[in-house]
């Protein structure tokens, strides 16, 4: 059959990802960047405020304490944990690790990554607790 008789292929609509639960979950994973962008902007604003002096810094501390900002940053924390959970599961498939000719089991790699998260979190709790 020649190509001209083929049904013309329509381009995907913008809402293609609404058709299936799997695609929605994927878009949720990708959307975790949005609250994280807000968190990064907060950090940048904090550094600018620190440079501008004590008054500006106090203003930033008050801003960070406001309920809406707290909620958005808690959302960012939840988003980053969700992203980590999905990313850690994908990691052994992208970079299967081999030690002495034997490939590490996937669960061991995932567990190792979470252990890293816990270690970094504990380090920061310790550092901030001393301050």
């Amino acid at each position: 059959m020649d190509k001209s008789s083929s049904h013309r292929l329509l381009p995907l609509k913008r809402n293609w990802w609404l058709k299936h639960r799997f695609f929605k979950l994927y878009m949720l994973r990708e959307a975790t960047v949005l609250p994280l962008v807000f968190f990064i902007l907060c950090l940048l604003a904090g550094m600018v405020a620190l440079l501008q002096g004590a008054e500006s810094w106090q203003g930033w501390v008050d801003f960070m304490g406001s309920p809406i900002v707290l909620v958005l940053n808690l959302l960012a924390l939840a988003a980053s944990l969700f992203h980590a959970a999905t990313f850690f599961v994908l990691f052994p498939r992208v970079m299967p690790l081999r030690i002495a000719g034997h490939s590490l089991p996937d669960q061991a790699i995932v567990a190792g990554q979470w252990a890293g998260v816990v270690a970094v979190a504990l380090l920061f709790f310790w550092l901030l607790g001393r301050a």
Partner: protein, 255 residues
């Protein structure tokens, strides 16, 4: 597959909606309804064969082996790409919508034009490229094609592809840009790159390491979900990204 006993006496009537496209009659596609008797052993391919033989001989679809090895009978079942022979109607309640595979031009009914898929497969040089001067069938050749089980294990999973094209219908990136080489072609390239007998990685990298190669993939991962042979194309494509990045870095330092 579950080990539960399949009861072939459990007959019922099920409703199948098939998306028809007959370019000789009309430029528009339309839905056609079929009622047919099924039991617990009826696969979707059995159902289509029943329609073709008993109800409506004008229906067109591809099939051959009936056992998930030829890769011909891929269709969309309720919007998800499936092999007709590996899909059982006992797993579906209510309306079952059958469409041709997404992201390919439809030729007739459930038959799609897979030319672009075949072009992408050929583009990645999916064969052993060996710079060893010994001829493969030369009896005096020094053990050219020997391979240990460990070397086989490195790529074996990625060699199970049957070219059914389900992963292309599952891939939104291929749907958005048909020039993207796509899951199966990139997996096949990776399969040969991992093969100890092959020396063609450098040649394949030219195809892989570009926007329409591995870098169009955003790891949606649905290709691996729908793959009927558990090839895990998403893993292969993303391992390909690591290889492509290494290739770029090495090229950078070599100048």
């Amino acid at each position: 597959m579950s080990t539960e006993q399949v009861n072939t006496n459990n007959t019922s009537t099920k409703h199948l909606s098939v998306k028809r496209y007959l370019p000789d009659n009309s430029a528009e596609s339309y839905w056609q309804e079929y009622e047919l008797p099924v039991d617990d052993s009826t696969s979707l391919l059995d159902a289509l064969n029943h329609i073709k033989e008993q109800l409506d001989s004008t229906l067109s679809y591809r099939w051959s082996c009936r056992m998930a090895i030829c890769g011909s009978c891929g269709v969309m079942v309720n919007g998800i790409p499936k092999l007709g022979c590996k899909t059982f109607l006992r797993d579906y309640e209510g309306d079952i919508r059958i469409e041709p595979l997404s992201h390919f031009p439809v030729q007739r009914d459930l038959v799609v034009d897979m030319a672009i898929f075949l072009e992408h497969l050929a583009a990645v040089k999916p064969y052993l490229i060996d710079d060893n001067p010994a001829k493969p069938y030369d009896p005096t050749a020094p053990e050219t094609y020997q391979q240990s089980p460990e070397q086989l294990a490195r790529y074996k999973q990625f060699a199970n592809c049957i070219n059914c094209g389900l992963c292309y219908s599952a891939c939104p990136q291929f749907g958005l840009n048909p020039e993207f080489l796509g899951p199966a072609a990139l997996t096949l390239a990776h399969r040969y790159n991992l093969d100890s007998r092959d020396h063609g990685k450098k040649q394949r990298m030219a195809e892989l390491n570009r926007h329409e190669g591995v870098w169009s993939c955003t790891f949606v991962g649905f290709c691996s979900k729908v793959c009927p042979k558990n090839v895990d194309p998403a893993a292969a494509v993303n391992q390909g990204k690591v290889e492509a990045a290494k290739h770029t870095l090495i090229a950078l330092f070599k100048g």
